[in-house]
Amino acid sequence: MTRQFVDWLDDRLGTAHFMKHALRKAFPDHWSFMLGEINLYCFLVLLATGTFLAFNFDPALTKVVYHGPYRLLDGVTMSSAYASALHLSFAVNAGLLIRQIHHWAALLFVAGITIHMGRVFFTGAFRNPRELNWIVGVVLFLLAMGEGFTGYSLPDDLLSGIGLRIADSVMLSIPVIGTWASFLLLGGAFPYSDQVGPRLFSAHVFLLPAAIAGAIGLHLAILWRQKHSQFRGPNRTEHNVVGSPLFPNYAAKSLALGVATAAVLVALGAFVQINPIWLFGPYNAYQAASPAQPDWYVGWLDGALRISFPWALHIFGHTIPSPFFPGVLLPGVLFGFLILWPFIERAITKDRQPHQLLDRPRDKPWRTAVGVAMFMLALDLTLAGSGDVQARYLHIAVNVINVVYRWGFVVAPSLGFVIAYALANELRKRGGVHEAGRVRLRRNDRGGFDEETIP
């Protein structure tokens, strides 16, 4: 049976040679190499649940009067998008379960990407020859955020409408083209034309997922070609990869991880409420909610908008309004820095050699310090994004909290840099496997051990 299958395929495509190697491909066994796989499995869960949702959802923004099982909104005028999201949540069997799994999977997808990116950054896995895949990874991160934001905007509930209004204001702040970009993308001035719902829908269910799928394909193809990097260890060199064979050993483990990811997402979807749109009500341009929180990965942008200075530039009769600096310039600089990091590091270290062996974070204290500083910056902004919630529970005025985070924007990364540098340096001085060199222990005739350094 197996023989026939292999022969049949090989007669037509000549696959036997490839298969022979592919099935025995070495996958390093370190747990941190599985972080990226979580994202892959999240994406599969998102595709499956997303298809179910798309078949039960009407993105139109035309006004309808809701009649359905959710009594508190019965008889209320709202967009078809919001009405169909309510219908999906209350009247479609397992609809709310799938919707919540989808939302949790999206949150975990972006979280997994950031953690995976941290692993790659702190171990220097982005160095030659993997700069290309680093860039593909950063692009995937951006696409995932865009996909998340368009999905968040689809149900046309009060919070999603406010989020869209803020995004539109940021777009309006772009010099020269901002106003045109806003009018063309939204089909007119805010509160946008009825076309916005279907446009967001097309972007969310077709354009962005196709781009993400393509980028994942490229990410994996490059990985496959270049093979994995690996941590230092016995028999591991700059010219090989040591690990479990893909099939069946690694495949079984990876499958377990994938199903475990799905299990966690299903359990979250069943038991932990997420984005209860029926509590927010339909979007109305003149209504607001307080406190208002975006999904976690947008929090840093919202935080940046909150703590930025009230400065606008007026030049030659034109305006660059204040949201431009935290909303466009800051993310532009940060993502530019991320994309260019492999080249920045190469310019600093002058290290052009290809690397298969990874660093431990302590091995390169300054890189670790830069990474920790970036993390602290994101943390400060993300926390600033929920300042109103903190104000409510801490009984401190929210503008005081915002001033604290404004200082934190400078202080937190600086402190993070200094502390991380000092810690990594200290750990490095104490030595590790490869600084001390490998030693062979030999039992001597007195019953003790002699050390013998292996060159």
Binding site: A26, L172, V176, A256, A260, A288
Partner: protein
């Protein structure tokens, strides 16, 4: 491979079967999403445990070593590839003038491809510079009720629209009644655009004691006694104030549109 381990894996798979059956039953009975999700999660956990058992107890733990030898290619191949490219370059660019025409043609086509984006929406024109308020527009509430000069108690607010444009996003206005003698009010009333000048959220929180409007999104605070000027937060300009008067019948009305564009800043705003 002990029998105990085989039995354990079999048990996990039976759990997976039970979970799947449980989900089918829960689905048919329209059970709660908690029950449906629980059954599904149990099935998946069964599979996870079975796969883990299989991978650690049944499949051997061999290690393989792959050698990195597929790249970079050897220098002969690289030279050959470079040579091919250079040869192609020479052939294509044999006639330099023709190549320049090609660049212009491609540029023109690229430019043509940008044009259809124009069909996505209307030109901004003066849309962002005006609202539906006109001289004499009476103020109406969300429910269409016309606002009289006795409509509000001191220190309270209401969201109003120009008559005939209830719900219009750009025209949304917050009408506030201040204590007597405070600010440049008309019979105690001041009216401000409800669209935050920072990022466009409705400036929905009125702090009566301080006479401040606060935006719930990014916490800009505006002083309604002093022309809506920014007291704190990221907003870079004051809330536009609507010029109002009381008409002979005692209704509040606008004497004209907002003197400056409402809402967040933009390039053409000046």
């Amino acid at each position: 491979m002990s029998g105990k381990r085989v039995r354990a894996i079999a048990a996990f798979l039976i759990v997976a079967i039970l979970g799947s059956v449980g989900f089918m039953v829960a689905y048919i009975m329209h059970a709660s999403i908690q029950l449906e999700g629980l059954a599904l999660a149990i099935a998946l956990v069964g599979f996870v445990c079975a796969a883990l058992g299989w991978s650690s107890w049944i499949i051997g733990r061999d290690q393989v070593v792959d050698h990195i030898n597929e790249y970079p290619s050897d220098s002969a191949d690289r030279s050959a590839a470079t040579g091919e490219l250079q040869q192609a370059e020479r052939e294509v660019s044999r006639n330099g003038a023709l190549l320049k025409v090609l660049y212009v043609a491609l540029g023109a086509f690229g430019l043509a491809a940008i044009f259809p984006f124009r069909s996505w929406g209307p030109a901004p024109g003066k849309t962002l510079f005006k609202t539906k308020w006109k001289p004499g527009s009476r103020m109406v509430r969300e429910n269409g009720e016309i606002v009289t000069k006795d409509a509000l108690n001191v220190d309270s607010t209401v969201t109003v629209f120009p008559e005939g444009a209830v719900g219009d996003a750009a025209s949304q206005t917050v009408l506030i009644r201040l204590p007597d003698g405070m600010g440049a009010s008309i019979d105690g009333y001041v009216a401000y655009s409800k669209v935050c000048t920072h990022a466009g959220c409705p400036v929905a929180l009125y702090r009566a004691k301080e006479h401040e409007l606060m935006c719930p999104c990014h916490q800009s605070i505006f002083d309604v006694v002093h022309g809506g000027k920014v007291l704190s937060g990221p907003a870079d300009h004051a809330l536009p104030q609507l010029p109002i008067e009381v008409d002979p019948q005692g209704y509040l009305r606008a004497t004209g549109d907002y003197p400056v564009p409402i809402g967040p800043g933009f390039w053409e705003r000046g």
